[in-house]
Amino acid sequence: MTLESPGMSMPIEIEQATGEGGVFLVGTPNVGKSSLFNVLSDSYVIVSNYPGTTVGVTHASFHLEGNKGKVPISDPPGLYSLIPMTEEERVARDALFASHASCVVHVLDAKNLDRHLPLALQLREAGLPLVLALNMWDEAQRMGLEIDTQQLSKRLGVPVVLCSALTKEGIEELRDTIEKVHGNGKPSPFSLPWSAEIREFRSRVATRIAKARADEEVKLPSRLTTDQAAFFVLEGDEIFREACGLSAGFVDDLREEYRGQEGHRIAFDTACFLRDRTDEFLDGAWTHPEEKRNGFAEKLSRVLINPWSGIPILMVVLYLGFYQFVGVLGAGTVVGWIENDFFGAIVNPRLNSLFESYVSSEAIRELFVGDYGVLTLGITYAIGLVLPIVFFFFLVFSLVEDSGYFPRFAMLVDRVFKKMGLNGRAVIPMVLGFGCDTMATITTRTLETRRERVLATLLLALAIPCSAQLAIIMAILGSLGITVWLSYMAILMGVLLLVGWLGSKLLPGEAATFYMELPPLRLPRARNVFMKSVSRMRWYFKEVLPLFLIASVILWALDQTGGIDILERGMEPILAFIGLPVAAAQSFVIGFFRRDFGAAWLFQLHLEGIATGHPVLSAQQVFTAAVTLTLFVPCIAQFMVMLKERGPKVALGTTLFVTLFAVSTGAIVHRVLLFTGWLA
């Protein structure tokens, strides 16, 4: 399978980033980089008000004026600095230096130029063919900001363009400028007046790198000059340090020597130096009026970040958005229409009779319209069940995401997440997991340390049910009353906290620190929310539908050859251990192919039992099965992503642990129920 980042139409392949003569966008999160990409290119990417939702490099085409054809345009994740802190920043930085872009567009927020110009100075010094796009010019104008682009452009030696991706103001000029730079080639030389000490230390590193480069021991991108590489290594870039074959000790000693001599860390002095230069470059060319904070949005933000009001609001958001909208409307009503009224009553009976009359082989008939049929199981579930649920989920998720609520959610739960060895930043993968654990596992890249990524991967595989699975389990448990439903959620929460806590104790590494920008709250735009949901859906279906079909075929083959019976018999002792009848075995076998398939199978079993008046499962057994199935193995798609993102050791280890843990929890639940007599 090709691995893609959520909602994007292009695979992540940073090596092939941009061939000769392409356009490459860079910028910090929250500056409207992806919006600008959408305006400049011919495709749609997810634009978000939360750092870390673009986790791979997106490629599209940039059309040149007249009929001069088109060149590739790339949009990597946002980065705060050229020295990466997270894997997504690393993806962006590496792609930038690996690319042969003929024009690098640095997107800045015109309102916060003082904050973003240091990055521009570093890009400028790296000798890249740069254009500065000062975005959000419409908002800046409203604030009364004044920018002298001519002056700024003269000082920096690169074109500076004011624009707004929202109002399309300045976009034509930006296009023209990009084309000019694209045709011109190399920019004028530019260097900043670094202190003699910094230059000296840098040259000591550069000498070593130059030597290694001459011996061809270096795996540095060709675009990176030796001096630039020395700068990065000295600032603390571990990836480039290793690529240069320099030992950590060598660089640490240099840094300590510098600190002993100058009294500050070199990174601190660099930051101060870049700030001073920024002030000089902006002096007289950028005037910022007294800040006026947007009244209502700011008041609302204060309410949201106060736990006394913020947590009740969070509960209401979860209840209305996810329980009522996704669960009741999406998974209940809409699924009822599509799955029962459309497929169940109209399509599948006709398909059945069609196959009855034209296909004589029973085995072939079964392949398409049998119990495990590609059409009656695969397609029906994919379109009738999963499509509406996942789409409703993505709608809510995108709406919440665009409002800028997630960073506030993150700061509210940071302390709880810390108990699980994570930090507030992990809310995105965790919440996204309730939609699709596979997609969520990819976004764990936005976490800083490997330890956090491994923990998040484990917790997603274990205790976060995906929307399709959750919706079915909600339907089963819903019939047993609200207490049962709440108990189920409480067990999952308990497992999440317990395993997270144990994992954080067992996995070596430092505690995660939390820092995050709180972007202004914005009213989400309907078009953007819709497009984003559609884009995520498209990803989901391209990745997941084939697996649905393959799962159907494998199940059919197992059914035909008697393999299912063997598997079921093999599971008998395990099921007996958690007090379930053999009939439930199918749910577990199927559960490996799709988490929700397993639950759906259980649901079917439950309903048939009720309909015939001879329940196959008692209420206690339904509850035990629901808990065990939720915790049970990740689906095939998630397993593949775990393998790709975390490697075989983590993927196999996690799967083994999850399986054992699910069965043990099931056994405990079973015994507790027997002992207490609850639900008997």
């Binding site: 904050r115 101060c272 736990p307 509210l412 940071d414 302390r415 939390f514």
Partner: protein, 73 residues
């Protein structure tokens, strides 16, 4: 008086006096946010995370990182 950022009261303004340079990773994170000595900050909340305004931008930090930022009232 010099205190760390998490000792300010909500609504209180202060000027960044220095950054704790002991832990290199923590320092890098604070520098990534663009905070340097001389900058004006305003504390907005102290719990569950520290929220403060720095120019037109607001940041949330945990107590550990906030303790790295020393401010002068």
């Amino acid at each position: 008086m010099i205190v760390s950022l998490n000792q300010l009261q909500p609504g209180q303004h202060a000027r960044v006096e220095s950054l704790d340079e002991e832990n290199r990773d923590d320092l890098r994170k604070v520098l990534t946010l663009g905070i340097l000595p001389g900058d004006e900050v305003e504390l907005i909340r102290r719990s569950p995370s520290i929220v403060f305004a720095h120019g037109a931008t607001q940041f949330a930090l945990d107590a550990r990182l906030a303790a790295c930022i020393r401010v002068e009232i």
